[in-house]
């Protein structure tokens, strides 16, 4: 099966080469049959890659440890759900997943545009196949997921998937990020094609906008899923740690956010053509850059593969993408001239442009600080890391400006806003923002953190603008149709999904940033060493370590702590946190010790989420009192095992293995071992050794998740195909004529 998989990968590379040649030849000669053949090569690539990926999944499900990647990242005791996710826990498998997803999305894009953009499609096909071919070549020649070991050396069991990766997010977070990254290749490819052919009207933008939006949506979802996962794990820096690889996903997302806003200026007024095409090329390149950071290990990151040899090919690809992008834009700059100019700085165009500048500036800051260790190494000879504190002084003010513009942009008039327009649109939102600011100062201690306070006020301002827009739109609709409010609101969104989807996303953005400002500025963290019965206070709450717990299952031993949380003497919640130990496959750990290996442990946090605050707790199991028992057990069982082995060695070599297993089972060796492990684990309840607790009280964390969900919901509404809503058009206007302000 390994050979078959590798053969398919070789075929992948061949198909890519053929498709590139056919597409370019078809484009240069105008031979549509060749162009079509190139497009079909992408379909074939998708089919082959899906087959290869399915083969790898089957190898995992069958526990085929002759595959090196299966032996390294799975085992017979790995649950089936995680066997399915294990392929992308390795460099090799994740590259194959990339090729599979990229070829799949390329096929979808080329299929949907097969009757349109006929001049551009062949070049876009070639670009997509170059990218797919690059990753297929890496999977084929540099990180082969189908590498096998000879039968004699094949282990009977694998090392297993790391316990930390056995989390439901493993099924969704990496594939969603890959979907976002690979979807970004589609607008990139069509932008390059538009530049090559010189057909730089708004048609290619219209056709690929949906893919840009889908990429933005999936990448955003991937980022949020990762943040949520990180929040529930110990030691991953909370929901955001400004880790280089986190930043690598954030940068293309920010640039694509700029694009899905600025594209409106090109569609409506033929402006910012150079800017828009540059943004597409930039986020396409940044998506590959993000992959480079993960796979090269060039920067120290918790998510970067170490000791990788893939950096050089990636640098080459990035160099080609960057220089060809700049060269193409310069070559076609005459055809990219704007049809209109900004008439006034007090206009929607100016606000959109300013918002884009802020987003790009934010990307530049993140890029600089992320890459600073390498820049400083090149300049000074010393690697200097700046870490999260260097982001805050720049990103926070830019975020504040961005929130302000999020509120102002959609309400201000196109071309030139009048004073009357400003007054009509902004009185309510400004008043609401001020009211929230005053309430925050008077009712909470928000005044002690000016930046957070400003964010609360600006966030409320944005919420005010969105509420006002929905109210006005629904009221106008009700005036026409007399529908109930809820029906009018739903119909409003259906009739103009892009606009109202955008408003929902803006609402979510404001809520999310309020959550981030609150949770980062007013968080209380405390670490304490507690014995059962002892307490610690944090953020106005009292945490009492009630008692220890032990849970034994086939997969793990869990040592936990029950914590009682009170506030002012009143019961708030009872939390259970635990640290679980999964059996190690390292023989050096001993027959008993392998069940208590801290290298194979993960923590389950005790979390109480509320609308206004989260209480987060974790406790590290203190196994010190069990160590003498564990060591004694290892000595006893090793001696017993060696005695059995000594007997078995008297037999012919060919019979030894089977005889050993028979004797071990017959003598009750494993049963006794398991009973000993259970007995030792139960001893944990009988001592009152102190345990290290970490407790965190964070306000408004739920707002972050809620806001992110709203952003994604808004994006989802915007990206829905028109056909889905065309059948549900609103009823015809009522007979009674009414004055309705323009909604579009």
């Amino acid at each position: 099966m390994g050979q078959l998989g590798h053969a398919i990968l070789l075929l992948d590379v061949g198909v890519c080469v053929y498709g590139i040649v056919a597409s370019v030849y078809g484009a240069r000669t105008g031979r549509r049959d060749w162009s079509d053949s190139g497009r079909r090569a992408v379909y074939a690539l998708a089919l082959l890659s899906i087959t290869a990926f399915a083969l790898l999944e089957v190898a995992f499900l069958r526990n085929d440890f002759s595959f090196k990647v299966v032996a390294d990242t799975s085992s017979t005791t790995t649950p089936t759900f995680y066997k399915l996710t294990a392929p992308w826990s390795s460099q090799q498998g994740s590259l194959l997943l990339w090729v599979t997803m990229s070829s799949l999305w390329s096929s979808v894009a080329l299929y949907l545009t097969r009757r349109r953009l006929r001049d551009l499609a062949p070049y876009a096909t070639a670009v997509l196949l170059v990218l797919d071919g690059f990753f297929a070549s890496l999977a084929c020649f540099a990180a082969n997921p189908f590498q096998t070991t000879p039968a004699a050396l094949t282990p009977s069991n694998g090392s297993g998937l790391d316990p930390l990766l056995m989390h439901p997010s493993m099924m969704f977070h990496p594939p969603m990020l890959y979907t976002g990254y690979t979807l970004m290749a589609v607008p990139f490819a069509f932008a390059v094609a538009a530049l090559i052919t010189g057909r730089l009207g708004s048609e290619w933008i219209r056709e690929t906008r949906r893919f840009a939006l889908a990429a933005w949506l999936c990448l955003g979802l991937g980022i949020i899923l990762g943040a949520r996962w990180s929040y529930t794990e110990l030691g991953w820096g909370g929901y955001w740690g400004w880790d280089p690889v986190e930043n690598a996903a954030l940068m293309p997302w920010i640039v694509s956010t700029a694009f899905i806003h600025s594209i409106q200026l090109q569609e409506k007024r033929g402006m910012l053509k150079v800017w828009n095409v540059s943004l597409v090329l930039l986020f396409g390149t940044l998506s590959i850059f993000g992959t480079f950071l993960v796979r090269s290990g060039v920067l120290e990151s918790i998510h970067a593969f170490g000791e990788s040899t893939l950096g050089v090919p990636f640098i080459f690809l990035l160099g080609v993408m960057l220089f060809s992008s700049v060269g193409l834009v310069l070559w076609r700059r005459d055809r990219l001239a704007s049809e209109h100019r900004i008439d006034s700085l007090i206009s929607r165009e100016a606000m959109f442009l300013l918002q884009n500048v802020v987003l790009v500036a934010m990307t530049c800051v993140i890029f600089w600080v992320t890459m600073f260790p390498l820049i400083s190494l090149a300049v000074t000879g010393t690697k200097i890391s700046v870490g999260p504190p260097a982001f805050t002084p720049f990103v926070v003010p830019l975020a504040l400006i961005l929130v302000l513009l999020t509120g102002v942009g959609p309400l201000i008039a196109w071309r030139r806003a009048s004073f009357a327009n400003l007054r009509r649109q902004f009185v309510f939102p400004v008043a609401f923002g001020l009211l929230v600011t005053v309430l925050a100062v008077t009712l909470t201690d928000a005044g002690s953190q000016p930046r957070a306070l400003i964010m609360f006020g600006l966030g409320a301002f944005v919420i005010g603008t969105v509420v006002q827009e929905f109210y006005r739109g629904a009221a106008a609709r009700r005036a026409m149709t007399r529908d109930p409010w809820i029906v009018a609101l739903v119909a409003l969104i259906r009739r103009n999904r892009r606009r109202y989807g955008g408003y929902i996303a803006h609402f979510g953005f404001a809520v999310m940033l309020i959550g981030i400002a609150g949770s980062s500025s007013f968080q209380h963290t405390r670490q304490a060493l507690l014995r059962p019965g002892q307490s610690v206070t944090d953020g106005g709450y009292s945490f009492r370590y009630v008692r220890q717990t032990v849970a034994v299952s086939a997969e793990r031993l869990s040592f936990g702590a029950i914590i009682n949380v009170t506030r002012g003497g009143a019961q708030v919640v009872r939390l259970h946190t635990m640290q679980s130990f999964y059996p190690s496959t390292n023989t050096a750990d001993g027959f008993i010790g392998r069940f208590f290996d801290t290298a194979n442990a993960d923590s389950t946090i005790g979390l109480d989420s509320g609308p206004l605050r989260d209480i987060w707790t974790v406790a590290a199991a203190n196994l010190t009192p069990l160590l003498p028992l564990i060591n004694r057990g290892d000595v006893l069982f090793t001696a017993e095992y060696n005695a059995i082995v000594k007997q078995v060695r008297k037999l012919p070599v060919s019979e030894q293995s089977a005889a050993l297993n028979t004797d071990l089972n017959r003598s009750g060796f494993w049963v006794a071992r398991d009973a000993a492990v259970q007995g030792i684990a139960a001893q944990y309840l009988k001592h009152d050794y102190p345990v290290v607790f970490q407790v965190i009280v964070s306000p408004l964390v739920s707002w972050l998740w809620g806001g992110a969900a709203l952003i994604l919901l808004g994006g989802f509404i915007s990206v829905l195909p028109p056909a889905l809503v065309a059948r549900r058009r609103a009823p015809a206007p009522a007979r009674r004529p009414v004055a309705v302000r323009e909604l579009a």
């Binding site: 282990p155 694998g158 990766l165 849970a551 640290q579 496959t585």
Partner: protein
């Protein structure tokens, strides 16, 4: 005002703002940064009271936990030099011998103290798992699900 003049003023303002932002960024980066060092570099460069970022691999058998304090040694890439670090507080779940870590340390006269909450370890999907598979990996039979909770 003449539109061309207007555009020139806007461009100047924008470029000035960009220049100021870039200057501030460069200044903050160099002034707020800490040297990211390997164990051997740290031993050469460290000065009492100095703060550094130590990156390397946790030496096998070097981890000792006493109450809130975790002592361990971080190896340089050539594995010839190791630095002892005393770290207080919770350690991340993936922290274990043989794994890559980064930790902010302060030189306190020859001993290195790790700053609370500064210890980071790689996401476990990003290092090769140890290939030490053993013959029998029978788990504990699913007997009584919970003991004493």
């Amino acid at each position: 005002m003449d539109p061309n003049r207007k555009r020139a003023i806007r461009l100047t303002v924008a470029l000035t703002a960009a220049l100021l932002l870039a200057s501030a960024l460069i200044y903050v980066s160099f002034s707020a940064g800490r040297d990211e060092l390997t164990a051997s570099q740290l031993l050469q460069k460290a000065k009492p009271g100095g703060q550094y970022i130590l990156a390397g691999t946790v030496e096998n058998g070097s981890i000792r936990r006493i109450g809130e304090i975790t002592d361990f040694r971080v190896l340089s890439p050539n594995r010839r030099v190791a630095v002892a670090v005393s770290y207080t507080g919770e350690v991340p779940d993936p922290f274990a011998q043989g794994r890559a870590v980064m930790v902010d340390v302060t030189d306190q006269g020859g001993s290195f103290i790790g700053e609370v909450n500064s210890l980071t370890t790689k996401c476990p999907s990003k290092y090769q798992a140890a290939s030490g598979a053993i013959k029998n990996t029978a788990g504990i039979p699913a007997g009584p699900a919970v003991v004493g909770s």
